[in-house]
Each structure stands twice: as C-alpha cells, then as structure tokens.
Symmetry: C2
Subunit: 199 residues, 2 copies
DNA sequence: AGAAAATTTGGTAGTAACTACCATATGACT
DNA sequence: AGTCATATGGTAGTTACTACCAAATTTTCT
C-alpha cells in the first residue's frame, strides 16, 4: 500500500471519529459540517469528497458491516445450502457489528434523535435487503422466484434488526448470537403470531 | 365543517397535486419548493406550514394509508384474535393503497430515482413497524413479549412491502389480495428458505 | 351588522447542506 | 530531477428550511 492510500485511510478515519465526537457531545443537528471539518483539520471541500452527505458520516460503519457479509455471501458456491448460508450471513453481520459496540449504540442513539439519520439508516437496510433479494433469486429455482427471494431476504433483515435493536436497548442482556438463535427458533417453531391465511 | 377547514383541505390537496405533477414531469431533484408554491399559487411560507419537508409532499398518501390501518388495529378489543387481526391490518393497508394506484406507482418511481425519497419511505415503514410492535406487545403475554412482538410486526411489514413491490413492478399481474394470501401461505407453509437454527 | 379575537397567509432575512469549479500542493513514476 | 496523476482547499452559488412579523381573512361576540 502506497503512502497515498495510507493517508487517505487516516484522514477518512480522523474525519469520522471527530464527527462522532461532536455528534455525541452536541447532537447531530447542532453540529455543522464546517465544525467537523475544522476539528479534523481539513477543508469542508475535502470532507465532502470522503462523505457526500452528513448522514454517511454516521452510517459508514453499519453499512460496511452489512454489505461485507453480503459480499461474502455472493462469493459462495452455487451449491451452498441456503438456510445454512443465510444463518452465516446473519452471524457475519452481527460479528462485524459487535466489533464496535459503542459505535453501534451511538448510531442508534443518533437515529432515535434525528429523523434524517433514522431515515438513512432505514434506507441502508432497505437497500441491503434488496440486494440480498437479487442474490437469493439467482440461487432459487421453481415458481415465483422473485417473490420467494424477497420474503426470505425480508425475514433475514428482520431477524438482524430485531436482534440488534434488542441488543442496543439492553447492553447487558443476552448474547447477540443467542438472541439470533432465539429469533430463528421462534420463527421456525411457530412461536410468532403470523397473519392467518383465509381466502 | 367551517369554511376555514374546507379551504385548508383544498389548499393542502392543491399543493400536493401540483407537486406530483412537477415531480413526475421534471423529477424530484429538478423541482424546487418555490416552483411548487408558485404552481399552487401560495407563498413558500404557506407551503412549509402544510408540508414541513419536500419528502412529505411525496409520502403523505402512503403514510396515511399505513397509519390509518394501524389506528384501526389500535381500536380493536383486547380479545381480538391476533393472527386474524394482523391479516386485517395487511388487507386494510392494501385496500387503502389500491384506492390510488397511480399515486402509489409514482411514489415508488420517485423513490427509485431519488435517494432521499427512498430513505424517507423506508423511515415511514420503519416507524410504522415500531408502533405496530408496541401495540402488539400490549396484546401478548408470556416470555420475551417485546421480542416476539417485534418479530411479528416485522413479518407483517415484510408481507406488505413484498406485495406492494410486486404489484408496482407488474401492474397487470396477480391481484393484490391474492398476492398477500400467497405470501402468508408461503411463510406459514415453510415455502421460504429461512436461516437454520444450530447452536 | 359591526367590532374584536383568532388564525391563516405571504414576505423578509438568515442559516447550513451541498455543488461546480479552479488553483495549488503533494505523492508516484521514470 | 522532472513529469504526471491525484488530493486538497478555497470561492461562489443554489436550495431546503427556520424564525419572525405585518397584513389579510375567517370566526365569534355584542
């Protein structure tokens, strides 16, 4: 890796760290992009090159965690057992998020306070689910492939969201991995009140 | 209803109609709030009183459809059978959306083109799911009520989203209600590749 | 009917996120 | 060392949105 890339990584991290510092101290809305740029000792112009919007400053880590796992899934052989593969996807996302619990909590804190952050967080997971749907559809056969894939991808996204939310809400509760298994068990075992089917 | 309320309703509708006209003709990003205000023959100041952000102009109908159904659910007696109730919620939302198919299609069109619209659309459904979770949790008993409620609410949201998406993507396909039943059937009958449970 | 009160409207001034663009500086390569 | 590619910082401008105020309009009270 050249010196150039190294510096890029460093500035990128510096900017997002300073941003989080200011966001958690004074709130998302009360922090201006210029203040962040000043704190990171770069021009606003440079900051915008790394982070096109204020929200991406907050969501980079979550987005990377989620799409990292998705990319792993994409590289798996076509014969991969889907249920097993989906479990691995879930565990990979959770593993990534657990590498930086404080950051995850801060993100959810900010999303709770600011509508546009919550909106963009929702958008990231929504986009993630759509891309998982495409990948899944390519691995399915039979009737209404798109439909089935979308339902499966939605279920996976759901499990992740519920587990993360529960984890964030009570930090000293059950282990993340156990929560995930509990969720999958409930879904499979019929422990969830699902809507009835009646024509 | 007094003259004041009547005029308010009228201006509100006028504004959102003009907004959709401009959005679909020239795109969301290429339409300014001032242009919308001018087209509706009101001051920008007035427009902002009705619609606090540009995105609410787009999402009002979808939001009303979804939260209308949720409010119906909230008013149901505590003894209501949950699976049946959830099916009704789904059908109510879909009924509301079907009252204005063009508008729904336009919304999804705009969401596909503009990130911030897609973000706010995601946020609306996310918030809807959260409120459904709260309502459901109040009607459940036993262990891990919150957890179960969140999973159920997520499943409901999922069905709605998949059905609407499928409906929007091919307008002349299966009836919305049939799609919904198909989705519920697949979910209950194990036709979906769900992640495995293994500790 | 007419005055007073409440509310809606439109306009002004200002903030801040973001874009387009250009000159300068800084690593990379021969 | 010199040239090339890329990263940086600054300037000017657009636009969404906020706070605030004076005029207009609807409702209410006498």
């Amino acid at each position: 890796m050249g010196l150039r890339e190294l510096k890029r990584e460093r500035t990128r991290r510096l900017i997002s760290d300073k941003a989080f510092e200011l966001f958690t101290d004074h709130g998302f809305g009360r922090t201006t992009v210029e203040q962040i740029a000043a704190a990171a000792e770069v021009g606003p112009s440079t900051l915008y090159r790394y982070y096109p919007t204020k929200e991406t400053l907050v969501l980079e880590f979550v987005e990377d965690s989620m799409f990292g796992a998705l990319n792993w899934f994409r590289e798996q052989p076509a014969e991969l057992d889907l249920p097993d593969g989906l479990q691995s996807v879930i565990e990979l996302v959770l593993d990534q998020l657990e590498r930086n619990p404080d950051r995850v909590r801060a993100v959810y804190e900010l999303a709770g306070q600011t509508a546009s952050v919550s909106a963009h967080l929702a958008e990231v997971t929504w986009r993630w689910r759509n891309e998982l749907t495409v990948e899944l559809a390519g691995r399915l056969a039979g009737d209404s492939v798109e439909f089935t894939a979308a339902l499966a991808a939605g279920a996976v996204m759901n499990i992740i969201e519920v587990v993360v939310q529960t984890w964030v809400d009570n930090p000293d509760g059950t282990e993340v991995k156990d929560l995930a298994h509990e969720a999958m068990g409930l879904l499979r075992g019929g422990g969830i009140p699902l809507p009835t089917v009646q024509a």
